[in-house]
Symmetry: C2
Subunit: 190 residues, 2 copies
Amino acid sequence: MKHDDHPTQDILRHWRAAVPNDRLAHLVKDATRALVRALQVRLVEHDVSFGHWTFLRVLWERDGLTQRELSHEAGVMEPTTFTALQALERLGYVERRQLPENRKNIYVHLTPRGRALKGKLVPLAEEVNRIAVDGVDPAQLAAARAVLLAVIENLARDEARQESIERRVPSTRAVARMGEGTRRPKRARP
Amino acid sequence: MKHDDHPTQDILRHWRAAVPNDRLAHLVKDATRALVRALQVRLVEHDVSFGHWTFLRVLWERDGLTQRELSHEAGVMEPTTFTALQALERLGYVERRQLPENRKNIYVHLTPRGRALKGKLVPLAEEVNRIAVDGVDPAQLAAARAVLLAVIENLARDEARQESIERRVPSTRAVARMGEGTRRPKRARP
DNA sequence: GGACATTGATTAGACGTCTAAGTTTATCCC
DNA sequence: GGGATAAACTTAGACGTCTAATCAATGTCC
């Protein structure tokens, strides 16, 4: 790499120093990033992106879902699903079909090629999981799972409550507008 | 089927059904999203975006860091920091200064306005944390923290190992190339 | 039976993040 | 001292994600 003679050590030293007293949120966020990266690095060797994995995973369990249902199962919003599905269709891993009875819904089906990926890709995710929890006490792991689930539930409840009070996740436009106060024309960099 | 009369209940039902046996990764990922959203919704009322928060948080603890150091503390790559700092400077929350002795480094300092945000914003994060862990047994919470830390460490070690075997997180260009149809020269080394 | 509401898919556009590839400045070493 | 090397910042461009707005099909209800 560059100057990092021992990147791992460096990362760990950083963590040990900075995190233990910090809020749970940072730990969770960084764990997510680490898990995603570990999977990504393995998926790319099979020409599958992380964004594709998210949906293939669901479809391997059950296909023929509508895009909306698929979004729900994958835990993302519909435009995300839409974009990923377009790519997946282009790659020949899924087909989107409409039925004559209902031309509003679009049903997503795996192609044989798409289904065939399961055997190659699932083991990669299992490997990542194995590495991630290596040496972790099963009881602690179960506790962690329970805590994460509780966090998700607590916050889902909170979000519902906020919504009824009209607080909402900001639109990207609202965020963009935030930059308009006190604007200074950049800075002259020689 | 998708009549969300009670979105929260719906979300929870989904979770209860789908998650407990699933891999840790999905739980972690969804917890991250929930935590980020909960904070976002509160920050936006003070005209601060989540991307800004990430860096302000570090600077409130200690400012005068270089961009590189700040990136490290925030746990993101340098271009991310660069972009965020540009916006923060435009908003008048930070200043980037160069010293005559070393014009390579850029030191980031909070402005009084930037520093003043701390009092308003930190309580929001504390509130989110409180809500998130509401009703969670402290011992379990400690266990969860330990598990997450272990996961991060395990994967950091793995990533270092992978790097020495030339596996890397894919470049966006490599991922883009994945969409180009069934042709796949790949295997070309840089 | 037709106007209105609702649902599902799509488009538009932004954010936060990343890797790779420059720039510019400082440091090293012969 | 001057060219090679490295460090720090910047630019370029992509991905995954989101909200809001629009389009198209299907209900609903008087």
